[in-house]
């Protein structure tokens, strides 16, 4: 509680002043997430010391970002869902189903020379449709999100396995112009991988939607106090449905990224992605009870996790040591974030 109220007060203070918009935005975001930024920096310093040039290398930065991208895109969607008072455990399964559906069912039956955009469309559609089912049953069927998405997790994975016959689907079995697809998703733009750009674009759009659009405002309202939102005339159920469709859509994007990255669709894609995404969102400061959270925090959360993984691998540490320390680092990062946030608010 005390932590919570600290945040509230701090937020209150920060929204007070508002000079130059861009600067203000930056200052607010960094201020609010000072602890995370410092934690990330510390982790990077450790990386630079232990792994030297291999860590500070630009290529390595790209490796980290590429690693972060898929989880990142899903985490942005998860941020909305959690702020809106929900949770989605089915993201990994939806990613798997989208990846399998777009690499098998639809594409294998297509005529030659179907444009690869069809594949993209299918993935996004399948993701959104799963989200729609989640959303409708949660909003209108009154099923607790945890249970509903757990059920979706089981069902979507099962369906993905049936469709793919549990085999890894390599791209390019059907008529679709796979070359175009691969070219697009694995291209470099200004020296940066398209996958990373996608993460950036999704984050920026997410930030704008959350902070500058009615959609985000409604999401916060619905998560913060659903009863008050309803009495204020907001259609809480519809907003809830939108939120799950949104995360489903993000899963579709993530599925495409994975398909391009691994050149396969598989029912094992996105295994335990839900945990990674939720962890990134929560470490980023979003309240699991809804009503409060930031996109910047989520992005930092995703980066912290993927940087830790990267450093451990660069240092050739065993997986067990990695998990032992990961726990400690997470705790340290959170404590740091708290201390810095409360200091910020008292000045």
């Amino acid at each position: 509680m005390s932590q919570d109220s600290v945040r509230v007060e701090q937020a209150a203070l920060e929204t007070e002043r508002e000079p130059n918009p861009v600067l203000a935005v930056l200052r607010t975001s960094v201020g609010r997430n000072a602890g995370l930024v410092v934690a990330l920096l510390l982790i990077c310093i450790v990386g630079a010391i232990t792994a030297g040039g291999r860590f500070t290398d630009l290529d390595n930065a790209q490796t980290i970002l590429r690693l972060a991208a898929v989880t990142g895109v899903v985490s942005i969607g998860m941020t909305f869902v959690i702020i809106g008072g929900g949770i989605d455990l089915s993201v990994g399964a939806i990613v798997a189903l989208s990846s399998v559906w777009c690499t098998t069912l639809s594409t294998r039956m297509m005529a030659e020379d179907t444009h690869w955009l069809v594949m993209v469309g299918v993935a996004l559609l399948v993701g959104s449709a799963c989200g729609l089912v989640n959303g409708l049953l949660i909003a209108y069927g009154n099923i607790v999100p945890f249970i509903m998405t757990l059920a979706m997790l089981a069902s979507a994975r099962g369906l993905a396995e049936i469709i793919s016959d549990k085999k890894t689907q390599t791209l390019g079995g059907g008529g679709v112009d796979v070359g175009g697809f691969n070219d697009f998703f694995n291209r470099d733009l200004l020296g940066v991988d398209v996958q990373i750009w996608l993460f950036v674009v999704v984050s920026v759009i997410g930030w704008i939607m959350l902070n500058r659009m009615t959609f985000g405002r409604r999401t916060v309202a619905v998560g913060g106090n659903p009863e008050a939102a309803r009495l204020a005339g907001i259609n809480v159920k519809r907003q809830t449905v939108y939120l799950y469709v949104l995360i489903g859509f993000c899963c579709g994007i993530a599925a495409l990224m994975l398909v391009a990255k691994t050149t396969t669709g598989s029912s094992t894609h996105g295994n335990l992605l839900e945990l990674d995404a939720i962890a990134a969102v929560v470490i980023g400061g979003t309240l699991l009870t809804g009503g409060r959270g930031t996109i910047v925090g989520t992005v930092l959360g995703v980066l912290i996790f993927s940087t830790i993984t990267n450093i451990f691998i660069l240092n050739n540490r065993s997986f067990s040591e990695q998990s032992l320390f990961k726990g400690a680092i997470i705790v340290a990062a959170v404590l740091l974030q708290q201390r810095l946030a409360s200091r910020n608010s008292s000045t």
């Binding site: 390595n60 490796t63 549990k166 598989s266 295994n271 691998i313 660069l314 050739n316 997986f319």
Partner: protein, 328 residues
């Protein structure tokens, strides 16, 4: 790991396995109806999927076999419960690929005590009495084969940089493979310079490889434990534009063999880890229950241990193996 275990108290197990009956005519001729319970870990990757699929296929070939397949699981409690259910149902034999061999030992012992022969596949129990027959792949041998291949390729370059992408690190089989690899490498003065673990999935392979390539700017040889995750590993290698090294795979998927056949990728070889072990287990279970023996052997009983060989497949001999390889 224990390899040979000479008969201690297996006489009892034998009698429970049915009376011996010298095979007359083909073993494939229909016999008494046999109900076989089958349980394996979750089919969450190609090799394991193929294990179950081939078991099912073999069972379907026999009219006298009824196969009961329990949901694949990575939870020992659930798997124990599955075997309990088989015991309750009174199946004639149980073919068991345990998630964790040691953990499944007590329930297997119980089944044997109740007179149901257990055919242990791939991951070994830690009590020889817990299984009537054990069909083993050779995880340690797989590592040895891979290591020997690397040694052979490296010749007298004792500075060669060797990297390893393991499977799920917390599984004993991964430990065995890595140990074999290490032991074989040390024979020619090499060691593993970089090692990461993935999780047997394509996605995990991609992630692990992307990071590994970053960690090791130059590699000479790379052993990847599993061809399933290998698809992702190759994608990451492609992405990074690296081709200065030779890679050897594991398990022997059809994908990998095709790549070896084409010869235009870094993948030059793979070590087979047969995915037909469970299918062999089903066949043996049927023989056991019907009281038949392996007709190519003189021995009138089904042997206690069958260990499969882990050959290295290269461009030279790939034609020989590609037909029996599993599609991942």
């Amino acid at each position: 790991a224990c390899t040979s275990n000479d008969s201690g108290g297996d006489d009892e197990a034998d009698t429970s396995g049915g009376t011996s009956n010298a095979a007359s005519g083909s073993n494939d001729e229909p016999g008494d109806k046999v109900v076989i319970g089958f349980s394996a870990p979750a089919a969450d990757h190609g090799w394991m999927g193929s294990i179950t699929a081939s078991a099912q296929t073999v069972a379907d070939q026999y009219d006298d076999v009824e196969l009961r397949v329990a949901e694949g699981t990575n939870d020992v409690s659930v798997q124990i419960s599955q075997v309990e259910t088989f015991i309750n149902e009174g199946v004639d034999a149980i073919v068991l690929l345990p998630f964790d061999g040691a953990a499944m030992t007590p329930i297997a012992l119980e089944a044997m005590a109740k007179g149901i022969p257990v055919i242990n596949v791939d991951r070994e129990f830690d009590d020889p009495n817990a299984a009537r027959v054990t069909v083993l792949g050779d995880n340690y041998g797989m590592g040895v084969s891979a290591g020997a291949w690397v040694c052979e390729q490296a010749g007298d370059n004792s500075d060669a940089i060797v990297a390893e992408i393991a499977g799920i690190d917390s599984l004993p089989l991964t430990q065995d493979r890595s140990q074999g690899f290490k032991d074989a490498l040390s024979e020619c003065g090499l060691d593993v310079d970089n090692r990461v673990a993935a999780d047997f999935t394509v996605e995990g392979g991609e992630e692990a490889a992307a990071n590994l390539l970053q960690a090791a700017p130059k590699i000479d040889f790379l052993w990847n434990h599993d061809d399933d995750q290998g698809v992702g590993v190759l994608a990451a290698i492609d992405n990074a534009g690296r081709d200065e090294f030779q890679m050897i795979g594991g398990a022997g998927s059809a994908n990998a063999m095709r790549a070896i056949q084409e010869g235009d990728s870094v993948l030059k070889a793979t070590v087979i880890y047969p995915s037909t072990q469970a299918a062999d287990g089903i066949k043996l279970a049927r023989l056991l229950v019907q009281g038949k023996s392996m007709s190519d052997l003189v021995e009138v009983e089904v042997p206690r241990t069958v260990q499969l060989y882990a050959p290295v497949v290269t461009a030279d001999n790939v034609d020989q193996y590609i037909d029996t390889a599993f599609e991942s």
